[in-house]
């Protein structure tokens, strides 16, 4: 057993014990078992914890394993990832300042609460809510699957197979279920905060080592270009169109992430929220750019990795780094724990959102009942077990492929949020017809193996059709009646 594996196992044990302790503290701090307490920590997340939980949730196994893998495959053009991760915080400007006050006033818990409120009294509102909830559930389950796969890969790689891929999934999924069930959003946010710090420190250490080893950025670029000269050339039109399409896809779809929307609800106040989002603006530079450099640095070090194996460049680099000495082995373990933390924090947020959406939006459980929390925990547990089982048998899927599929479906919910919050005239029936059409286009493209047309994601093409149907249909139908428009409230 190498030093890295020994330190890795010890670090893993300490890390997991730390999570257990945090979960118990969060359990003691809870204000009850209502959905608002369990899923939103009683809407009391302050700026610092909110920032770290947003950060740890946004940067996941996809970012830590998938993005270096994609940078390895595509080369320098993957700088686009820094842009599209930033676009999420930019597009939030269109949603957060308007959604937050409405959410506070009407005590929203799930993303579906917005749809229910906005289209209340309209024919077609229930179908729209169902459609949005189904897409969000699929996206969350997909996201959860990607995290479980990443957990298994990382545990197996770093422990040298002492913990197998399958065992890693079972162990870590069990741990998430434990602390999420015990402490709800409070436990998730607190563990996210610890995980976010670990991730930042770990990535900074690895980037510093890589740049030091390569004798600076310029020398590193030369080594990369010597191994694959073609990736330094200016991207062609299709690649540039794909760059733009990726920014639009990620920017719009990430804004309707259920777990991100729930964090908007869970903020203590508007100040905490805006400060957190201001800090979040810099995180693509501190994280996505760093993991892109890590993927690029792997090009001259690991020549000829296959399509799926490219997702392993991060663990491979960690192993190489650890072999250079005891101090480096400890630092590599820190990065390993940081990556694992990123993955687990995203998985726990998915699980929490999944439970609440399933209970309230799909199965119509009452918003304020304790029984809803119990139902949500059970439903989330069942989905977790199902996804873990699938992750064990479906290992040969690239992480970036999973992200694209998820985003292409999730982006079809954009009209029901971004357009609905800014345009009073948007109606429920054309919105759900547009949503179904857009989703059908995205799914048909995926099934037919056509992910992009001339660089444009099929999900974007689906969204364009979706938006056309929703807006033209709404204009044709005209404005809703007074009762429907006011949601049945006297204002």
């Amino acid at each position: 057993m190498t030093e890295f594996i020994r330190f890795g196992l010890s670090g893993l044990v300490f890390y997991l014990l730390g999570l257990v302790a945090l979960a118990f503290v969060a359990r003691r701090a809870r204000g009850g078992d209502t959905p608002a307490d369990h899923f939103l920590a009683s809407r009391g997340l302050g700026g610092f914890v909110l920032f770290l939980t947003l950060y740890a949730t946004a940067y996941s196994g996809n970012s830590l394993l998938g993005y270096p893998g994609e940078a390895y495959r595509r080369g320098f053009s993957w700088i686009m990832a820094t842009g599209f991760m930033l676009s999420i915080v930019v597009v939030f400007h269109a949603l957060v300042p308007r959604l937050r006050p409405i959410a506070v006033r009407h005590r929203f818990v799930t993303p579906g609460d917005w749809v229910r409120h906005r289209f209340h009294g309209e024919s077609g509102a229930r179908v729209l809510l169902f459609g949005v909830s189904v897409l969000m559930t699929i996206a969350l389950a997909n996201f959860l699957f990607a995290q479980l796969k990443a957990m298994g890969e990382l545990s197996a790689e770093v422990t040298g197979g002492v913990i197998s891929y399958e065992m890693g999934i079972v162990l870590l999924a069990g741990m998430i279920l434990f602390y999420e069930t015990l402490g709800g959003m409070r436990a998730v946010a607190w563990t996210d905060a610890a995980q976010g710090i670990l991730m930042m420190v770990g990535l900074a250490a690895l980037a510093a080592w890589l740049l030091g080893e390569s004798r600076g950025l310029a020398a590193m670029s030369e080594q990369i270009l010597a191994a694959r000269p073609e990736i330094g050339r200016v991207p062609d039109t299709v690649e540039r169109t794909n760059w733009l399409s990726s920014i639009v896809l990620m920017g719009l779809a990430s804004v309707v992430y259920p777990q991100a929307i729930q964090r908007i609800y869970a903020a203590r106040d508007g100040n905490a929220l805006k400060r957190s989002l201001a800090f979040m603006s810099f995180m693509p530079l501190a994280t996505t750019l760093v993991v892109t450099l890590i993927g690029l640095a792997a090009i001259p070090r690991f020549v000829g990795l296959g399509e799926v194996a490219a997702d392993r460049v991060m663990p491979l680099l960690l192993g190489q780094w650890a072999s250079t000495g005891s101090a480096y082995a400890v630092a590599a373990v820190l990065v390993f724990l940081g990556a694992l933390a990123a993955i687990m924090s995203t998985a726990d947020s998915c699980l929490l959102s999944l439970g609440s959406s399933l209970a309230e939006d799909l199965f119509g459980r009452p918003r304020d009942a304790v029984s809803t929390t119990v139902f949500a925990k059970r439903a989330a547990g069942a989905v977790m077990i199902g996804m873990a089982a699938i992750a064990m048998v479906a290992r040969d899927i690239t992480l970036w492929g999973l992200i694209e599929l998820k985003m292409e479906l999730l982006i079809q919910c954009v009209p029901a949020f971004l357009l609905a919050i800014r345009w009073r005239g948007l109606r429920a029936t054309p919105s759900w017809i547009g949503l179904v059409l857009g989703s059908a286009i995205a799914i048909a493209g995926t099934v037919a193996g056509v992910k992009r047309i001339e660089g444009v994601h099929v999900g974007i093409i689906g969204l364009a059709c979706n938006l056309a149907v929703a807006s033209l249909g709404s204009l044709t139908l005209g404005w809703p009646g007074v009762t429907a428009r006011n949601g049945g409230e006297s204002r």
Binding site: F76, P101, A218, G232, R233, K274, A278, S281
Partner: protein
């Protein structure tokens, strides 16, 4: 729990210093962010051209990186200028 009196800071301070209202300044900053995004993609170069080196990176990569750094900074300032009311009296409910 919401703290009493913890509503969003009125961004009027900025308006006093710059002579431009905070909402307008925010919109201007976001427009610049849009421009930086447009510039970040190397439309200005022919596809497949060999790139020179700048700041230790292929030049089009360095340009994209500088654009994203600028966009991050402007976007952060725009967020600090954003008013997110928790008070329903100042709510800008689109409905």
């Amino acid at each position: 729990m919401r703290r009493a009196g913890s509503t969003a800071t009125p961004p009027g301070r900025v308006a006093l210093k710059t002579g431009v209202s905070a909402p307008r300044l925010r919109r201007i900053l976001l427009a610049f962010v849009g421009v930086l995004y447009a510039l970040s993609i190397p439309w200005y170069r022919g596809g497949g051209e060999t790139a020179g080196s700048w700041l230790g990176l292929p030049d089009w990569v360095a340009v994209a990186l500088l654009c994203y750094t600028g966009a991050a900074l402007l976007n952060a300032i725009a967020w600090l200028l954003t008013e997110i009311p928790d008070d329903e009296r100042s709510e800008r409910d689109s409905r």
